[in-house]
């Protein structure tokens, strides 16, 4: 059984359906991409998985247990962490306080300290700016902080919503290296991206979302080769 199982998920905003009965799964240790155009419903899907939106139909199972109606502050205790679209760092908190918020659910102080140093090793830029308020960081640094913060909870499933958004190519490359590193360590990842090529290059499988439905599902290699994907999402 897959770590994350989504079946017939429906999510709407006040009666307007944004996600119309989608199903997909992510196995333990996998890195799976979810791609699609603007307004396809990717963010809505992730928000529903993370408990920020309540599904109007269908089910979500994590590690065999239903999390369909679990509120977000309990979900993270089960091991599901979301790096939200637009990063959502706490701009008035320091870098270190942001990371501490990531470890809010943890009681093992020693482990948290070790992980903090690990994050600083992963993102040396954050270490230099640890006492600075996060609002003064560049976009790329904020994205690093958002990812580091999510990792501080020691998630089993990491949901990433457009980590490349608005970043310079060099920074995007750095962020994707980190994502691959995290994946290699065994964290299961669901990666939402508009940058389809990049996402499919690091993921093993991918789903394509269109108007609230999943239109294609295949291995990354097959999707990268598919004329449909090439035309619509790779700009060829």
């Amino acid at each position: 059984m897959a770590l994350l199982e989504v079946r017939d998920l429906e999510v709407g905003y006040g009666g307007i359906a944004a996600v119309r009965g989608i199903g997909f799964e992510v196995a333990q240790g996998e890195l799976v991409a979810l791609i699609g155009a603007n307004g396809a419903g990717k963010t809505t899907t992730l928000k529903a998985l993370a408990g920020m939106l309540v599904a109007s139909g269908g089910s979500v199972h994590f590690d065999g247990k239903s999390i369909t109606r679990t509120p977000s502050h309990q979900l993270i205790r089960q091991g599901v962490a979301l790096v939200p679209e637009g990063r959502g760092v706490f701009t008035r908190l320091t870098v270190e306080e942001n990371l501490a918020m990531g470890a809010y659910i943890r009681d093992d102080r020693a482990g948290v300290r070790t992980d903090l140093e690990r994050m600083f090793g992963l993102f040396p830029r954050l270490k230099e700016r640890r006492a600075q308020v996060a609002g003064t960081l560049s976009g790329g640094e904020q994205q690093m902080l958002a990812i580091g913060r999510a990792l501080m909870s020691r998630p089993r499933l990491l949901l990433l919503d457009e980590p490349s958004m608005g970043l310079a190519p060099l920074m995007v490359q750095k962020i994707f290296e980190v994502i691959q590193g995290v994946s290699k360590e065994g964290v299961t990842i669901l990666l939402v991206e508009q940058n389809a090529r990049l996402a499919l290059e690091v993921a093993s499988r991918g789903y394509v979302m269109e108007s609230g439905e999943i239109s294609l599902a295949d291995s990354s290699a097959a999707l990268l080769a598919s004329p449909q994907v090439r035309q619509a999402y790779l700009g060829e």
Binding site: A50, M52, P71, H73, I76, L82, F90, M101, I105
Partner: protein, 330 residues
Amino acid sequence: MDIFLQQLINGLTLGSVYAIVALGYTMVYGIIQLINFAHGEVVMVGAMVALSVISALTGAQIGLPPVVIVLAGIACAIPACMAIGYGMERIAYRPLRKAPRLAPLITAIGISIILQHVALLVFSRNPLSFPQIMPNPVFEIAGAHISAVQIAIIGGSVVVMAGLTFLVYRTRLGIAMRATSENVQVAGLMGVNIDRVISSTFVIGAALAAIAGVMIGTYYGIAHYTMGAMLGLKAFSAAVLGGIGNLAGAMLGGVLLGVVEAMGAGYIGEFTDLCQAPWIAGLMTERCADGGNFVLFGSNYQDVFAFLVLIAVLIFRPSGLLGERVSDRA
């Protein structure tokens, strides 16, 4: 006697109390963008409860030292107010969290009225006086007087403000509160139970209100069921002056407002004495003779200053002294 120094001391005393009450307004606003207009009433309840306990213990004549009696009063007022703070959020505000902003605002006014009238029934319609159980020596510095009560109020408020600052900036709850005030949804993602943070904010604010109630009651020597209304409005003005939602702003705004008010009260009589204007004095020679005066506004106009300050802030600097521009907060 030096009027300036004297009014500065009086202003700092009053301002310390305003600051502590203003913190309650600003903390709640920072978390849920609600002006809890019933907060002043919590101060009143704190004063009433403390006064009742102190009176009862004094009347019982069981030989408790006065300091213990006063501390017992505070120790009862704090949990009583915390319970009210918790209750009003739980019962009145939480169900309205997604309602239009006007609904909780009107509710706040309703809670004020309820609390006032419950206090009227439970305590008294008439002002109750704080029994003078401790000597209140007055010290003289540079021609001005400062009483032991004033020293205790100013010193106590410094301790309270330092404690709150520690809580907000150094503890897990405090960091969660600041995270929640910036982004409720993301704080939830981090595992913060938002309901609990909001409750804690009300409860902490109410504890501060209880302390302020004991301070103001001891300072003026009386407590009355309507005392919270004006005090609450002034503390709210202080919070707006400092920048609502900003803790340091509430402290600064409170102290400044107290000083402005005291200075105003100290000098308004002089400035509005028509006999000081020669051309008027010439018209009213009889009245102005031999140091006579014709004061337009006496120090009983003291309450006006808080609201003049509020109006001035709203016109010239709506975000307050330390507040961020509203567009930055979005």
